[in-house]
């Protein structure tokens, strides 16, 4: 695909006018006849047991229709993986309601009533008694000898080993995940007094390759640094409100989800109903950033209340409730020992990381941290050790570049210190260590082989950014002072997974000559819901205006589609779109040959026609012919290769025109990853500690550019989410009572428009990934780490590396460090 008409071009997405006129409907904008409203009773304590609930006064209120407790919730169910292996359910899994709340704000019960006022008053009339239990809001406190544990039975997850398969027998199920109470020794904690992260026993997550000791012996410079990042809430603008009702045995759920099709399986599992009885409606989603990948478990509450009350139920989630149940990025405590050669090569890296993982599964970001760090800096030898430690704080989940962003944030300052100590340019040291081509990452797999990426053009991106940012010219100002203003330059490299494979595409060319494309992608603001289908217009050479996209409801016959998470979609679904367009092309050629004579290969599809030696057919005529021919041409037969979900949709759409359907079966050598380089210049006022970002540039290595404006939005929006992590975003917990002190926007401090860099630019190397037919990789994740660490490095360049060892780097941290001539921030205490 050399010449591109649509790929790489800007266009107006089909959802934009509805958004800008207020007609776009998000979950809370739907209404149903007789709709009830919900209020939740939330735990006031970080850890407690409910010993008595009396709902009789609430039940007796006029207008109260149903009350739901954990007794109404389905038990966590086993599931089956792609290999047919049973995954045993975690009996301690989150169930949306609970009688043993594990964090302040955990929902205990829910009331449905004719309006919210009544529901709220009913909540007040419920008598409830709690028995307070010990709690932990700091992972290191929990690891200390005699320290409190987040769960009554422990503070860390571990998975007992799976027994080996017996010859001739199916593989035995993996044992369910378990919990252990892990404590480190006082001797190990002695290091904490010096501000270094103690390194005690970790239970599972460790790997290594190469000769670490030899690397450290050869090293000209060995650094041993501790960095701590903050917990940060995803806090999308739209809270996870949901509305549900049951009709003819099916449950209809209007929800805020990142992934339309993939949410069906989640709801099915959480509610214990078959997938064929679940309809997900999600036309517009107000952001998620990883917290709504397959929607949210809380939506089982309105679904079950609706069943109990026999009426539609809306559950509006308030901003404070969103702070509790809305997921967050786990903090990372990291200890990094790094050995460099005198020319800057990273010879040995010993990486130790603790995730503060909240009370449920889902916060083990440190594994991705190990993967991304090993990829980005290609250490000659590396050991990784990591562990999630539970606390009585809200559940964690993925947040844009989960683990990757934290890894970049803690590793990049180490690279900067090394460059300065060794007298090497900051861009140069990153180029020396950059991944290239099919670069390896992670530790070895069970066969002893390290996996590798599909491609990496990080060196090209660094070179491009260095020129665009005028790095050499600006360098003179880095580290200088003018009056109270200190200037600094920073650069940071970031990476994350950038695409999956194996999904389906589906569209119909109808006798009106238009192409009706079914999109199972969630509409969460990335624009991939329509962007990926530009490929169809490109391959078939059909005007984009003649392509209509259907999305937003699983009742509308959608194809099997990847989750919109982990930057998978642009890669996975351009592959599926390409495969489907090729299927259409083949069918058009065959129809033309059958109708007009000659061989299918002698016909060409272009300009809304299929033309060859026997003449030509318009797409409209070919669609009519497809209906007459039936079989595979109009969808009365579906290929065996596509998913059963797609097959159902094909059956529903059969007979309407030329039906194109295919699964992406293109080969791929390597695991797809994308990269972003951040460049930043900051101005720090050394009298106030305040700093601002004067200039920022993001350079992407994300394969072929699909939609430039959307890419620019992802790069700079993601970068600013990262910059927010550098500048201000955090949680604060009262260590004595275990309750959050930062619950609202003005306390958790995501970046406002006034925090944004004065100037922001983006660029892309625009080199096709060789392992995917369209060349496109995902983009959403890596900008976060790039923005975060570029700004942190620039601050260090302006006022010194020793000013901070934790994030966010706040004005008071800078000011007190400068005033005292040394770092005075407590480096290890969590959530301060």
């Amino acid at each position: 695909m050399a010449e591109h008409k649509y790929i790489g071009q800007n266009y107006t997405t089909p959802d934009l006018v509805a958004k800008v006129t207020g007609r776009a409907k998000y979950a809370e904008d739907f209404r149903a006849e007789g709709m009830l409203f919900t209020k939740l009773l939330l735990s006031p304590m970080p850890h407690a047991r409910v010993i008595r609930i009396d709902t009789s006064a609430a039940q007796a209120m006029p207008g109260v229709k149903a009350i739901l407790t954990v007794d109404d919730m389905p038990e966590p169910a086993d599931s089956v993986d792609d290999a047919g292996r049973v995954i045993r359910a975690n009996t301690r899994a989150e169930r949306a309601l609970t009688n043993e709340p594990l964090y302040e704000g955990e929902p205990i019960l829910a009331v449905a009533a004719v309006d919210e006022f009544t529901a709220a008053e009913a909540i007040e009339k419920i008598q409830i008694e709690f028995e307070p239990l010990p709690f932990a809001v700091d992972p290191l406190v929990s690891l200390r000898p005699g320290g409190p544990t987040a769960r009554t039975d422990g503070n860390v997850w571990f998975r007992p080993p799976t027994p080996p398969a017996q010859p001739g027998q199916p593989p035995p199920p993996q044992p369910p995940i378990d919990v252990k109470d892990l404590k480190w020794t006082e001797e190990q904690f002695a290091e904490a007094e010096a501000g270094r992260l103690p390194m005690g026993e970790v239970l599972a997550d460790q790997w290594e390759y190469g000769d670490l000791d030899a690397g450290f012996t050869q090293a000209a410079l060995v650094l041993d640094e501790t960095y701590v990042t903050s917990n940060t809430s995803n806090q999308p603008m739209e809270t996870r409100t949901a509305m549900a009702y049951w009709q003819n045995g099916k449950v209809y759920v209007h929800c805020s989800t990142q992934s339309t099709v993939q949410t069906v399986a989640g709801i099915s599992r959480w509610l214990g109903v078959p997938q064929t009885d679940v309809v997900v409606i999600s036309e517009y989603t107000g952001g998620g950033f990883g917290s709504k990948i397959t929607s949210a478990i809380s939506l089982v509450i309105p679904a079950l209340l609706s069943k109990k009350a026999n009426a539609p139920v809306m559950m509006r989630i308030t901003r404070e409730e969103e702070q509790y149940i809305g997921r967050a990025r786990p903090s990372l405590h990291a200890r990094i020992k790094a050995g460099f050669s005198k020319d800057g090569r990273l010879l040995a890296l010993d990486f130790f990381g603790l995730s503060e993982s909240g009370p449920y599964e889902g916060g083990n970001d440190h594994n991705a941290t190990g993967r991304i760090v090993s990829l980005l800096y290609q250490p000659v030898a590396m050991r990784f050790r990591g562990m999630g430690v539970m606390t009585n704080t809200p559940p964690r989940g993925p947040q844009r570049s989960p683990g990757g962003a934290q890894g970049v944030a803690v590793m990049e300052p180490v690279m900067s210190i090394a460059a300065d100590r060794l007298g090497i340019d900051q861009v140069a040291i990153r180029r020396i260590n950059a991944p290239e081509g099919k670069a390896p990452f992670n530790g070895p797999n069970p066969q002893g082989v390290r996996p590798h990426v599909t491609s990496a053009f990080v060196k090209e991106a660094l070179d491009k950014g260095k020129a665009l940012f005028r790095w050499e010219a600006r360098k003179a100002r880095g580290g200088t002072r003018v009056g109270s203003k200190a200037y600094g330059l920073g650069v940071a490299v970031a990476a994350y997974s950038g695409g999956s494979v194996g999904f389906d595409g589906l569209f119909v060319i109808k006798p009106d000559g238009k192409v009706y494309i079914q999109s199972g992608i969630g509409n969460l603001g990335t624009e991939s819901v329509s962007d990926v289908h530009r490929v169809v217009a490109e391959v078939l050479d059909v005007p984009w205006e003649k392509c209509e996209i259907t999305w937003g409801s699983t009742s509308k016959h959608l194809p099997w589609t990847c989750v919109s998470g982990g930057s998978q979609t642009a890669h996975a679904m351009t592959r599926a779109a390409y495969a489907t367009a090729m299927d259409a092309r083949t069918k058009l050629q065959e129809i033309a040959a059958r109708t007009l004579g000659g061989s299918p290969a002698s016909y060409r599809v272009a300009g809304e026609r299929v033309a060859g030696p026997g003449g030509s057919l318009t797409l409209a005529q070919a669609a009519q012919k497809a209906i007459e021919l039936g079989g595979k041409y109009d969808g009365h037969e579906a290929p065996e290769t596509v998913n059963v979900f797609t097959k159902r949709s094909v059956a529903a759409l059969a007979g309407q025109g030329l039906l194109a359907v295919a699964r992406d079966v293109y080969p791929r050598d390597g695991v797809t990853h994308s990269y972003t380089i951040g460049f930043a210049e900051v101005e720090v006022d050394v009298e106030t500690g305040h700093y601002r970002v004067l200039d920022y540039l993001a350079v992407a290595d994300v394969g072929t550019v699909l939609h430039p404006r959307s890419l620019g939005g992802q790069l700079l929006g993601g970068s600013l989410q990262g910059i927010g992590h550098a500048m201000g975003q955090k949680w604060v917990y009262d260590q004595q009572y275990g309750v959050p002190l930062a619950k609202r926007f003005y306390q958790t401090r995501p970046a406002t428009i006034l925090d944004a860099p004065v100037h922001m630019e983006w660029a892309a190397v625009d080199i096709a990934d060789p392992e995917t037919p369209v060349g496109v990789r995902g983009v959403g994740e890596p900008p976060v780490g790039a923005g975060w660490a570029a700004v942190a490095n620039a601050v260090a360049d302006a006022v010194g590396h020793d000013v901070f060892r934790r994030f966010p780097v706040t004005g008071d941290m800078i000011l007190t460090s400068l005033a005292n001539g040394r770092r005075v921030t407590d480096p290890l205490t969590a959530n301060i």
Binding site: T21, L36, L40, T318, L720
Partner: protein, 204 residues
């Protein structure tokens, strides 16, 4: 609650009631009567009064409770769901509407206080024939915003500000909309779109 006390409902009592309800802060504004209960209010304070509002150039008659916020009236009684509630506490600006041409957070305006005032929501910006307002057109031209949940608020705040300063610098405009939060953090593209909107308005 007696009728007497209702007459004296004050901002302070309203807030106290909210606090008493714990985490259920936004519920106090919800009086959406989906199922009448034999004519009786279901909960204290849910007595409604008929009033007339001037919304998007139309006189709309609506039953409103004393402590009802404009955001709730617009969304749940007038069907104008383009106005979004992002925080319900004047922190995010998603609910911004124009009241007599001034951008206001509708989550923090009591409906009964805007009787006789001109209210414009995102639904009221485009012309009757569907022609977009220049600021809306600029969003379309620049593919501004991502998830767009914050978009109505940003657009209304910009339209209001441009009435007082039709030729802002980029920095002035950033300050003008700094009461609006975008969690996609697409501020760069938003500002580009809003600056283009200002330009289109000057040309119009």
């Amino acid at each position: 609650m007696t009728e007497d006390r209702l007459k004296n409902a004050s901002r302070r009592q309203f807030i106290k009631g909210v606090i008493a309800a714990g985490a259920v802060v936004s519920s106090s504004a919800y009086l959406f009567r989906s199922i009448p209960l034999s004519g009786q209010p279901t909960a204290a304070g849910s007595v409604e009064r008929l009033m007339t509002l001037n919304v998007n150039g139309q006189q709309r008659r609506v039953d409103v409770m004393r402590q009802e916020t404009l955001a709730m009236t617009l969304r749940y009684k007038l069907g104008l769901t383009g106005t979004k509630i992002g925080c319900d506490r004047s922190e995010c600006g998603a609910c911004t509407v124009l009241i007599d041409d001034v951008p206001r957070y509708s989550c923090s305006v009591l409906t009964h206080s805007v009787r006789g005032r001109r209210i414009v929501t995102i639904e009221g910006l485009a012309a009757g024939d569907g022609t977009l307002h220049p600021v809306q057109q600029a969003v379309v031209d620049e593919q501004g915003f991502q998830c767009a949940f914050c978009m109505p608020g940003f657009v209304m705040a910009t339209v209001g500000y441009l009435k007082s300063n039709p030729s802002p610098t980029r920095e002035e405009l950033a300050h003008a909309v700094s009461g609006n939060l975008c969690r996609c953090q697409d501020y760069n593209k938003i500002l580009t779109a809003m600056m283009r909107g200002a330009e289109l308005m000057r040309r119009a």
